[in-house]
Structures are given as structure tokens and as C-alpha cells.
């Protein structure tokens, strides 16, 4: 009973965090599912977004402008990965790792040290974990919720445009795309840019929410993003067919992830094991479609063999 109360008490915080990471997860969804590229830049660009936003806010920049610059920083990070892949022929996973690594130095340079804090008592912020239980507009649930809805609307619109369709085609069938005159390299770069823009935007929110940016804040972000994508698809995949709803299901997947994380911690799991647990869960869920196909293959050989015997 006590655990349940604790959990309920922590729920607004978990949901807020889940929504913030949900923006990041949508970024991962765009590369992983739409573009069919596993982009590891995100671990770096998430922190870049946080670093850029925090430094701008500390220097008195308008909050929304700081968010915009964080987004642009993410776009640039994504462009680097995209160009490493398309212009220099480096496999996308490796290209992402290279950018991610270099972003570690860049993030240190942006902040001047490993972490920078923004105190909600001294500076105005868009979101803060202090406000999670306040019935006000600046409650992160409401602010992030509205921003998330707006982002989903914009992404939905964009992927319905000629450019957006070309981007989807590039991920769906690259040979067909080239045959239909689509510049697939350009679209890959564009897709990775948009993805990392969203990831950095999400990092900018999280830095304000937790009151600091840290060079390590994006560590394992790709796994959390993938977990959100997988959870969202597993739970809502059957009912959410529309593209906008699928984006929503990814964000909800992230929320569920954080609620589950909160639950296992409340029940006494060593928080140090959290990343291990996340990785195992993602690995298993990624394996399920493969196992399913393997199982089917076995089944076919068996029945064929029986026919031969008969």
C-alpha cells in the first residue's frame, strides 16, 4: 500500500519525464523506423541540446529562443552524421558514433565544464520538476504536453508533403526512390538532421526540468528511445495505424517506460542496474520478430520433411 502511494506520488514526475523523453523518442523513431537507420548521434546531440539551452539561458537569452537554438544545434549535429555517411561512405552506425564522440568534446566546450546548472529560483525556466504538482500552465505536464502535440502536428504535416513523402520513400525502398528521381543522399541527411533536432530540443527541455545540463545526460539515450518506440508499437501498434497516432504511441511508450522505471525503483531495485535492465528489455524486444521468423522457418522444414517421408 505504501509503495502504491509512493508510486502515485511520483507519477506526475514520471509522466513529465516520459513526455520530455518522448520528444527524443520521436526523433529516434524517425531515423530507426522511417529512415531505417540506427543513428547513435542522439547520445551526444541530446546533451548538446541541453548544453546549448542552459548556456543561453544563463546568459539571459529568451527561453523559447534558447529552445530554438538547441534545435538548430541538433540539426547541425545530425548534418555531420549524415554527411559522414553519404559524402564519406561511412556506415551510418559508425558515422553516428564518430559524431557522438566528437560531441562529447564540443559539449564540454559549450559548457566550459562537465555540467552547468540553472536554478529555477534565480532564472526563469520553461519547465521544472518543482512544478510537477502545481495546477498551473507552467506545470511540465501541460507545457511539454502542448509542445509535444504541436511537434506531432508539424511532423505529421511535413511527412505528408512532397519532401516528406520522398524522405519516407528513401527509407522504405532506396532503389525505387532513386529510380523515381529522389536524391536519396540528401533525404538521408535531412532525416538524420530532423531527428537530431528533435533529440536536442528534448535535451533542452530535460536540462531545464532537472535544473542542469551534463555532458553525460545523453548516455544511453538511444536505448531509451528504442525502448519507447518498441513499447509504443507493442501496446498501441494494433489500434494506432495513422502516422500522427503512431508518433503519439512512441511518446506514450516513453511515458510508460518512465512509469515502469519508477515502479521498479520504488519496489526496491538498485538504481545502478537500471541501464542494464533497459538494455536487456530492448534486446529481447528487438529479438522477438527475429525469433518469430526463425520459428516459422523451422516449422516449414518440418512439414516438408514429413511429406518426403510419407
Amino acid at each position: 500500500m505504501e509503495i502504491l502511494l509512493q508510486l502515485l506520488n511520483a507519477l506526475p514526475g514520471s509522466i513529465s519525464q516520459g513526455l520530455i523523453w518522448g520528444i527524443m523518442a520521436i526523433g529516434v523513431y524517425l531515423t530507426y523506423r522511417i529512415l531505417d537507420v540506427a543513428d547513435l548521434t542522439v547520445d551526444g546531440s541530446f546533451a548538446t541540446g541541453g548544453a546549448v539551452a542552459v548556456m543561453l539561458i544563463l546568459n539571459g537569452c529568451n527561453l523559447w529562443l534558447a529552445m530554438l537554438f538547441a534545435f538548430v544545434a541538433g540539426l547541425i549535429a545530425g548534418a555531420i552524421t549524415g554527411l559522414l555517411h553519404t559524402l564519406m561512405g561511412i556506415p551510418p552506425i559508425l558515422a553516428g558514433i564518430l559524431t557522438q564522440l566528437s560531441l562529447y568534446s564540443i559539449n564540454l566546450k559549450i559548457m566550459g565544464k562537465a555540467n552547468q546548472s540553472v536554478n529555477v529560483n534565480q532564472t526563469d525556466l520553461l519547465v521544472s520538476l518543482r512544478w510537477v504538482k502545481e495546477l498551473a500552465f507552467h506545470n511540465p505536464l501541460i507545457t511539454v504536453g502542448i509542445v509535444l502535440a504541436a511537434l506531432i502536428a508539424i511532423i505529421y504535416w511535413f511527412f505528408g508533403t512532397e519532401t516528406g513523402c520522398a524522405l519516407r520513400a528513401t527509407g522504405a525502398n532506396i532503389n525505387m526512390s532513386r529510380a523515381q528521381g529522389i536524391n536519396t543522399n540528401l533525404n538521408k541527411v535531412l532525416g538524420i538532421m530532423i531527428s537530431n533536432g528533435l533529440v536536442a530540443f528534448s535535451g533542452a527541455f530535460l536540462a531545464q526540468y532537472q535544473g542542469f545540463a551534463d555532458v553525460k545526460m545523453g548516455q544511453g539515450a538511444i536505448v531509451i528511445g528504442l525502448a519507447a518506440v518498441i513499447i509504443g508499437e507493442a501496446i498501441f501498434g494494433k489500434i494506432f495505424k495513422n502516422f500522427a497516432l503512431r508518433l503519439l504511441s512512441v511518446a506514450l511508450g516513453s511515458v510508460i517506460y518512465y512509469i515502469v522505471v519508477q515502479a521498479v525503483i520504488t519496489m526496491g531495485l538498485d538504481a545502478n542496474l537500471l541501464k542494464l535492465l533497459s538494455a536487456v528489455v530492448v534486446a529481447v524486444f528487438l529479438a522477438i520478430p527475429y525469433w518469430k521468423s526463425q520459428h516459422k522457418a523451422k516449422h516449414i522444414t518440418k512439414s516438408k520433411g514429413e511429406k518426403v517421408n510419407a
Partner: protein, 265 residues
């Protein structure tokens, strides 16, 4: 309409896997020519089409489409002049996208892709009319994912996509080979009617000799990266498979060997 001049291509040069795919190849197509191409395994048929399409660069020579030298243009830029259908029904369409989305993508081939809607309601009406021509019932399934279609339906759709914007040259790379005989005939019939309707300049690779003789106004046979037989007009119409094989042996100095071709005789 199409000029392939002295084109050569060697794969994996300088290695044990070196393969001379095209050897000083020359081909000139007049507007409205419908050429069928046959040849054994590794004769260079597909490589020829891939060279025209720009899938990989030529080693030497030039490719000119309707007066435009496209030799150095990347594949996606050449697409504006070309319509392509591939052997594998999976290659020509995006399985995860809807029928109408696939058509809309093709309708924008060679045009700048902007932030305007990827498909308009006016287009939808046009696509319904276009799909009716295929007589496969696809006009009622405009928003179905292409992955749900059969191989034959996908090839027919790819054909429609390849010709929705009139291409300067239509490239068909054994586009009926992966289909069952009945479906293959249907797709070939659709091909003929579309080519005739729009008077398209076409190159069609086939492994079916009877089709190669019956369809089109010109027939070429390839061997070791070169064209060894080239018959046109009346001469082609009166050709028999035996004569064709004889012609091949005379000009190439070897037996025609292709299990696929011989079996489908």
C-alpha cells in the same frame, strides 16, 4: 532517342573476380523503337540497362538520351528521362507506402519536391482512372499498402509508375520473369498496350524467345558484353526460334546457353 556509344564496364578489375560485363557496346534507338533483348547468363543485358539508368558509372564511352549527355549524371537525376521496371517485384515499389502514395512519388519524378502536399485530391481521381486500365481492381484499393499486393499487381503498378510521367526511354529488366505464366502474360499485355498508347521508346530484356520475337519492332541478342544479333522490322516478324539460335551461333561462334531461356522456349 537513346545512344549508347562505345560503353565498357568491367567489374572488380584487377581481381580474381574480374568480369568484363560490357565490351565496347554500341546501340542506337530511334524514337518509338521497342527493342527486345535476349542473351545468356552474364551476357551484359542487365548491366546495359543499369548503365543507361546510372546505377553504376561507365568505365568508358557515353550515354546520350534525347540529345542530353547523361554519362556523368547520378542515377536520381537521370530518372527524369527514364521509366524503369525491375525483375524483382519488390524493387519497383515501396511496400510500406500506399498505392496512391507510390503513384504520387512517381508522378513527381524529375520535378522539384517542395513542401506542397505529397498527393492532392485531384491526383487521386486521375489515379483511379489510370488504375482502371490495369483491370486488377486496384482502383478500389487506393490507400492499401503496396506490400499487400501480389507480385503481378506490384509489377503492373510499377509499370504504371514508370510511365505516369512519359519517359524518354522505358527500361524493362525481365519484368515478367518472377511471375507465373498467366500473370506474366497479363503484365506483358499491359506493357504492350501502354507502350503503344504513348509510343514509348522501350528496351525490354526477356528470357522468353517467343515473346522477344512477337513483341516490339526490333530484337537484339547479347553475348559477352556485345550485341551479336540485331534484327528489325519485317525480318524480325518472320523470325523463328530456330533461326534465331542459328543466327546467334553464326555471329557469336558459340552455342546459345541459358537454361532459363531454353526452358522457357
Amino acid at each position: 532517342m537513346l545512344d549508347i556509344k562505345n560503353v565498357g564496364k568491367t567489374f572488380n578489375p584487377g581481381t580474381i573476380n574480374e568480369k568484363k560485363a560490357l565490351n565496347n557496346l554500341n546501340l542506337h534507338l530511334e524514337e518509338g523503337d521497342f527493342v527486345t533483348v535476349i542473351g545468356g547468363n552474364g551476357a551484359g543485358k542487365s548491366t546495359m540497362l543499369n548503365m543507361v539508368a546510372g546505377v553504376y558509372p561507365v568505365d568508358c564511352g557515353s550515354i546520350v538520351i534525347d540529345g542530353v549527355d547523361v554519362t556523368r549524371l547520378p542515377e536520381y537525376k537521370r530518372a527524369k528521362y527514364l521509366g524503369r521496371v525491375f525483375q524483382d517485384p519488390m524493387t519497383g515499389t515501396a511496400a510500406d507506402m500506399q498505392i496512391e502514395e507510390n503513384l504520387a512519388l512517381a508522378a513527381r519524378r524529375g520535378k522539384k519536391r517542395t513542401l506542397r502536399p505529397g498527393i492532392t485530391s485531384k491526383e487521386r481521381k486521375e489515379y483511379i482512372e489510370l488504375l482502371k486500365i490495369l483491370d486488377l481492381g486496384l482502383e478500389k484499393r487506393l490507400t492499401a499498402k503496396v506490400g499487400l499486393l501480389s507480385g503481378g499487381q506490384r509489377q503492373a503498378l510499377t509499370l504504371l509508375m514508370a510511365t505516369i510521367k512519359k519517359p524518354k526511354v522505358l527500361l524493362l529488366d525481365e519484368h515478367t520473369a518472377a511471375l507465373d505464366p498467366k500473370t506474366a502474360k497479363k503484365v506483358l499485355d499491359i506493357t504492350e498496350s501502354i507502350v503503344e498508347k504513348d509510343n514509348l521508346t522501350t528496351i525490354m530484356i526477356t528470357h522468353n524467345m517467343a515473346d522477344a520475337i512477337r513483341v516490339g519492332n526490333r530484337l537484339i541478342m547479347m553475348h559477352e558484353g556485345q550485341i551479336v544479333v540485331d534484327v528489325k522490322g519485317e525480318e524480325k516478324k518472320n523470325l523463328t526460334i530456330e533461326q534465331l539460335l542459328q543466327l546467334f551461333e553464326q555471329s557469336s561462334g558459340s552455342q546459345f546457353t541459358s537454361d532459363k531461356v531454353m526452358l522457357s522456349k
